[in-house]
Symmetry: C2
Subunit: 217 residues, 2 copies
């Protein structure tokens, strides 16, 4: 007579296994990592430049910049700003995968890094499905993109740990209903911490930097 034994098993996909190994490595080395996502032109690289400039005296910063091509403009901008940078060419793929992060980490001086920023491919769809081992997923929305984005990209907005609302200096020049935008965000991701700011003028950056510092302290 056979007895059925209950089995509780979390089957990790190959990607999630690699992501878990990355997280373990980061924790072992005392590195806090964020996975930065946004649509093209929302201001990922600008936020990185501002963040590196503000924090590089306090913390060593590493960057992994994902792009669908060989053009390494973003990695170069990060490097100039003062971060240790690695450019990842996804070969046309619309997202970063954990294996790409693992390979990029091997090229970074981990002993000198306290904050690792992973700049994902500019895209509001694919990156949300791929765990990278980061401690927090941060989404940048942008005022000129429009207030309907939470409603149109619910998977992205519901899966992140913090939201940056960039380009608030353009609010006088575009139609953007902040109440409608925030209502959409709150429905998908109740209590999500958010930072309305302008990388161009610097307005609002201190709250974002304060949040990051609280994670690094």
């Amino acid at each position: 007579m056979s007895t059925r034994i209950p089995v509780v098993e979390k089957v990790l996909s190959a990607n999630d296994s690699v992501a878990a190994a990355i997280r373990a490595l980061l924790d072992e080395r005392g590195i806090y990592a964020i996975n930065l996502m946004a649509s093209p032109g929302a201001g990922k690289t600008s936020l990185i430049e501002r963040t590196v400039a503000a924090l590089k005296q306090e913390y060593g910063i590493g960057m992994i910049n994902g792009d669908t091509s060989e053009a390494a403009f973003d990695a170069e901008r990060s490097q100039r700003a003062g971060a240790h940078s690695v450019h990842v060419n996804t070969g046309g793929k619309c997202h970063l995968e954990a294996a790409m992060i693992r390979d990029a980490l091997a090229l970074l001086p981990l002993g000198e890094i306290r904050l690792l920023i992973i700049e994902n491919v500019g895209n509001l769809v694919c990156p949300s499905s791929w765990q990278l081992g980061a401690h927090a997923s941060v989404l940048i929305g942008s005022i000129p993109e429009g207030d309907d984005k939470p409603y149109k990209y619910p998977k992205m907005y519901s899966g992140v740990d913090a939201l940056v609302i960039n380009k608030i200096d353009l609010l006088p020049y575009v139609e953007f209903d902040m109440v409608r935008f925030r209502r959409g965000v709150e429905t998908l991701n109740p209590g999500l911490v958010s930072f309305a700011l302008s990388c161009r003028t610097g307005e609002g950056l201190e709250a974002w930097l304060g949040w990051l510092r609280s994670k690094l302290a």
Copy 2:
């Protein structure tokens, strides 16, 4: 004695076969179709509203609106503007595929349509790889996205038949080097026809509408 016979064969992928069948159907019905692509928030739906409002007295217009979710805001906006509209939920996929277009066409009154606008998923990566049977691929770039986009998304910029540069009303408020942008476009896609305009103010729309009319005449 066997003789080797030279064989010239274009192997179409399953998607491309469906796309070819769609093109044949469209041509048979006298429908001109464009595949409209852009990153999220560049103004696809706004351009559609402007275009439908301007041309609906002259031509019957059909719309297929692709979205990664069930939210049919764009299809509703197209419908309100006066187009026959079908919403396609890609189920999370970051692009439309030919089979989705085939199924959507079955829901449209083809006899009443002269211009078909396919609004692809907001994304500068995936849609460029999928033929949909349209006669022209049109990309919308947007001023606040930044002047580096041709360099960062070369596959998208090199594969299109026309370029709309939207939100020129924001040029005074953002850093955007039009010379750098156009140099990138010209390198990837020499002679590409382009239309700098603002869907918000209406500036520049006539040239775009004139180009469309020339295709429909």
